[in-house]
Each structure stands twice: as structure tokens, then as C-alpha cells.
Amino acid sequence: MKHLLSAADLDLDAATLVLDTATEMAAMASREVKKLPTLRGRTVVNLFYEDSTRTRISFETAAKRLSADVINFSAKGSSVEKGESLKDTALTLQAMGIDGVVIRHPASGAPNTLSQWVDGSILNAGDGTHEHPTQALLDAYTMRSRLGQLKGLRVAIVGDVLHSRVARSNVLLLRTLGAEVTLVGPPTLVPVGVEDWPATVSYDLDSVLPGTDAVMMLRVQRERMGQAYFPSAREYSRRYGLDNRRVKLLPEHAIIMHPGPMIRGMEIAPEVADSPRSTIVEQVANGVSVRMACLYLLLGGK
């Protein structure tokens, strides 16, 4: 595997290898010396054309724990503001001899395009409304560590599926790993062509929750909405928000997930987000282990 552009790049063996490697990386996080010499002398660029806290810090931590040199590049305050194109930025990186590029970009497909211009490995850290494969991997890792196995697991992904790269990557990866995915949201926020996805669709959250092992709440992505997709935030929250009443509909063992950043009171009630069944903070910690695994598997060998 040279690049990680889409969750569909991973077959069952490859996905399992990433999750197993992440387990070993997680064991290291509890040590006193949280550092491995594995990627010494390799350079990784974090190329962020879109705002991010969690993902960028997570990738940076992961690369540093593997002893790679990390260069952070954000579009703000760079030549991009002067009008430099992605291609010219790519050629600059290429000239500097970069081993890996972690890219987040508002345009779907940008990582794929970049992979044609740069020799190093490309890791997609979120491209437009397309994909976010490492998020899907850390979600799968969290489900596996909390619930044992992924095969046959019933997962509901709830909310703004239309604009969600997290949902796309999760559907693809969870399918590969043998889980059953139900997408839930208002009809306006479910993409056209969803019937071709390996998932079922429901518009009624209450009827889905009792048969769910893991419920993943998505943020309503206002910044990607040019028009009104639902009448009001209050109405959205009433119909698709996860509140205390709805949590009681879930089976005892079910976990509550959110990729972050979350809007408390919108898609998830604050007391639900802070409850012991919520894995939101755990997901962040797991993100570092999973990204270490990805960096190692992409950059650690020849």
C-alpha cells in the first residue's frame, strides 16, 4: 500500500492489519517513553487547506511518536493566500524530498490529484464531502475495542450524511469489516444515489435505535450548506438529536460516538455527550494510535 486515499483502498486483510497494528501502538502510549525510532529521518508534511484541530494535532502527535520530522503547513499564512495552486505547492514539496503528505482539502479528490504529482505517500485527512479514511479506521478501532468484534455489528450513522466524508468512509470500511450500517437523517440530508451504497436508509431515528450496537452522530455542516436543508435547528434537534429519551431506546451495551467537533444541544445533548457510554474522548486517543499505524504501514517499509 502506497497511499491511503479512500477507505475503499483497504480490503479486509489490510484493514485488519491497520487495526491490529494500532493495538500495538496504543500499548506504547501507556509507556513512560512514548517514542519509537521507526520513522527516524523521514519527513511528513501536514498540508491543511481547511481548519482542523483534532486531525492535525492527531497526525502530528502520531508522526512525532514515530520520530518522523513534521512540517505543518496551513493555507492561512502561506503562499496559497497569494494565489499559489495545489500543483505548485506539490512541486515545492516534491523538490524538498518529502516522504509523506497528510492532506486536508475542501475539494473532493484533491489527495488523489496530489498523488500524481508527488512521489511520497499521500494520506487523505479529509477531502471535501468525499472521504476521511483515518476517521473511519479510528471509529472501527473504537467499536472493536469496546464491543469485541465488527462482524455483524449494527451501526447507525445519524445526521448530515450528505456533507459527511466521515459517513462515506465509515460506510465503505464497515462494510469491508462485515458490519451492517443504517444511515439516518432528514431526506434533504441524505445524498442522491444512496441506494447504491452498501447501507440501508431510514428517516426515523426512534425506530432504528433499539436495534443498534453503535450510534454515530454527525455534525450538521453549516459551512457547507448554501441553502436551508431543514426548517430550524430546533426542529432538527427534536427529530434527529440524541437526547436522554432516545438513549433509553438503545440496547444496554450500545455505545455513542461522534467524530467531533460536536455542537452540544444540536445533534447531541450535553449530558449524553458526557455520559460513560459516549466514546467521544476515547475516539480522539484512538486516533493517534490508528494514525501511527497508518504512517508506519505506509512509510515504515521500502
Binding site: L17, D20, T21, T23, E24, M25, A27, R31, E32, V33, K35, L36, P37, T38, Y296, L297, L298, G300, G301, K302
Partner: protein
């Protein structure tokens, strides 16, 4: 693979039998007891794949001889190898340190074959990230020579002079279904 008519099968020679290995493990267990004043503060760390069952066997024999329970663990060295870039990324195995840790302990690294010494070098690096043992020793079943680094073993099951074209394979019933040490690819007639 079916044998081609006329082609010579690579010569496979059994150097140590199951009984030989059992005797060697007994002897090395005694040597460890002798050199560590009865395995006081000793910790056995096996290097995967076949160092792990060997460490377990040594601990079993030490228990049988003296009734001492020596803590055991597994030290995976993949992420510390110096030849990672020569191949595609290798799978990482689990590392487990016994609950008492290794700080101030006499750590005995256990591996099946001592060859270039590079595995042991990686193991020493891995060890220093896990803690600070008072001593580090090395126990191997077979020392086949050809060291590339200044490393030697404290306990050697058997010295087997080899040529570089040969390879030494250790088989354990836990991992391979049978106990034996084989020398293959020998050019000697």
C-alpha cells in the same frame, strides 16, 4: 512443490533432535540459576517468534529445578529494526512486560538463533524505552557465528559453525508442531 527430476533437493540436515533440545534447555536453565544466584530478580524476555516459546520453556525448567517463578514477557523488536527500509512494512507483534516491570531487574533476552547480532541490537534499544534493567543478558539456543556487531551471548545452547549460504531453522512444537534444529542449503557434500 513437486521435485523436478534430475534437480537436487536442498540438503537438509538435522543438527539437534528433540531430545538434544530438551537437554540443552535443562542445561541453560541451570546456568541461568547459577549465574543469577538462583534467578533472583531475573526476568525472561522472549524475542518473537521462537524466542517466546524458548523463554517459556526456560521458565518452566527453572520452576521444576528450584521452584522459582521467573516472570516472563515478550519483546517485539519490529519497530526498532535497522532494516525496515529494505522491505515493505512488517506486521508489528505484541510486546508484554511482566507486571513487576524491568526496572532494576536482571533481564535475560531469549532468542532462538544468534547470527548478525542485529536483532539483539534492536532488542537492547527496545529495552531502554521500556525501563532500566540492572543487567541485561542474552540466552540463545544456537549461535551460528557471522556477527556484524560487537554482541555476544551469555548462555549458548550450541555453537554451530555455518557458512553464509546456509540457513539455520529452529522448530518448536509450540510454533511448528515439532522440536528440531535444521541446517539447510548446505553446499558441503
Amino acid at each position: 512443490m513437486p521435485e523436478m527430476p534430475g534437480s537436487e533437493a536442498p540438503a537438509v540436515k538435522e543438527i539437534l533432535s528433540a531430545a538434544d533440545i530438551a537437554r540443552i534447555v535443562d542445561r541453560v536453565a541451570h546456568q541461568i540459576l547459577e549465574k543469577t544466584s538462583g534467578a533472583r530478580d531475573a526476568v525472561l524476555l522472549g524475542i518473537p517468534t521462537r524466542g517466546t516459546p524458548l523463554a517459556r520453556r526456560l521458565a518452566g525448567r527453572i520452576r521444576a529445578f528450584e521452584g522459582t517463578d521467573v516472570p516472563q514477557g515478550v519483546l517485539d523488536i519490529t519497530l526498532y529494526r535497522d532494516d525496515l527500509r529494505t522491505r515493505s512494512a512488517r506486521p508489528v507483534g505484541p510486546t508484554s512486560v511482566p507486571p513487576g516491570g524491568i526496572d532494576g531487574k536482571r533481564v535475560i533476552l531469549v532468542d532462538d538463533v544468534l547470527f548478525s547480532g542485529r536483532t539483539v541490537r534492536a532488542a537492547l534499544d527496545a529495552l531502554s524505552d521500556l525501563g532500566r534493567p540492572s543487567h541485561v543478558q542474552l540466552a540463545v539456543l544456537v549461535d551460528r557465528g557471522h556477527r556484524e556487531l560487537p554482541i555476544r551471548a551469555d548462555y549458548v545452547g550450541k555453537n554451530i559453525p555455518t557458512s553464509l549460504s546456509e540457513s539455520v531453522r529452529v522448530l518448536f512444537s509450540e510454533t511448528d508442531g515439532t522440536d528440531a534444529v535444521l541446517l539447510t542449503g548446505s553446499t558441503a557434500k
